[in-house]
Symmetry: C2
Subunit: 153 residues, 2 copies
């Protein structure tokens, strides 16, 4: 039997603390508190599984973009991405039906806007979390050329 490709394993642990709250752990990484969100009888101010789902998608999009930008030699000043996941019940079950990625990339004054757009689109298509979910994903990118006199905050 031919091995098609290497596989990777990712392991986490979640432990119930009290009420609808728990603690996530993963190797020697900092712990993350997690809770049912308020709208499902849970707790405010704590990451929910729903938040983590959207975060997994948007951070994978970012890391894929970073790899793509390095590969294609794209120079950029900053990258951030707002993401919004919609949880709905089109049939019997709740699920994430749609997610919007709103990346904002700032390029140097002489930056390559076309290449930046290409890298964003490539990252959207190459994101392995996007491949793993049934959620429809759309992207609303913003690419900004830094003005020559613009100060970096």
């Amino acid at each position: 039997m031919a091995v098609q490709s290497k596989t990777f394993k990712y392991k986490t642990r979640v432990k119930w603390d009290e009420a609808r709250m728990g603690s996530l752990s993963c190797d020697d990484k900092p712990g993350i508190k997690v809770a049912t969100p308020p709208e499902f009888k849970g707790h405010a101010g704590i990451w929910s599984p729903e938040d983590l789902f959207v975060a997994a998608l948007s951070s994978c999009f970012m890391t894929t973009f970073l790899g793509t930008a390095e590969w294609k030699g794209l120079e950029f000043v900053s990258f951030e991405c707002d993401a919004e996941g919609t949880l709905a019940r089109p049939d019997k079950e709740f699920l994430f039906t749609h997610a919007i990625l709103r990346p904002r990339v700032i390029l140097p004054p002489d930056g390559d806007e076309e290449l930046a757009r290409w890298c964003l689109e490539f990252a959207e298509n190459d994101c392995l979390i996007a491949h793993s979910i049934g959620t429809k994903i759309s992207m609303e990118p913003e690419i900004i050329l830094e003005a020559p006199e613009m100060m970096q905050l």
Copy 2:
């Protein structure tokens, strides 16, 4: 047009810091550092998007279990769940093909093992992150009756 059900929005932001690292934020919740994992030219000791994906699934399974246990009146002493996601490339693209949930529930000495198993199976099927992903999920539950003389750590 009939509205089938309420929808919920979940928003997060990710911002690139340096190298293949960034910071996740969500309302007034504690920030989470995120990075490409070492096996994809990234960084150790930081949550990766892959870890967050597995964490979203396992924590949703936990919160669904907590809600189910309350609904059915299941008494339990503790709950934790190890989860393992397998990233593979069965065709052209990497994706999470499989995830295993290994919940461990400790019940009081006179606990209802059958009801605990029912709640775990219900939670596995009712988990909204599970509904949102294409990953095949399997469960290997462990249900333990606390011995009357057992000390809680």
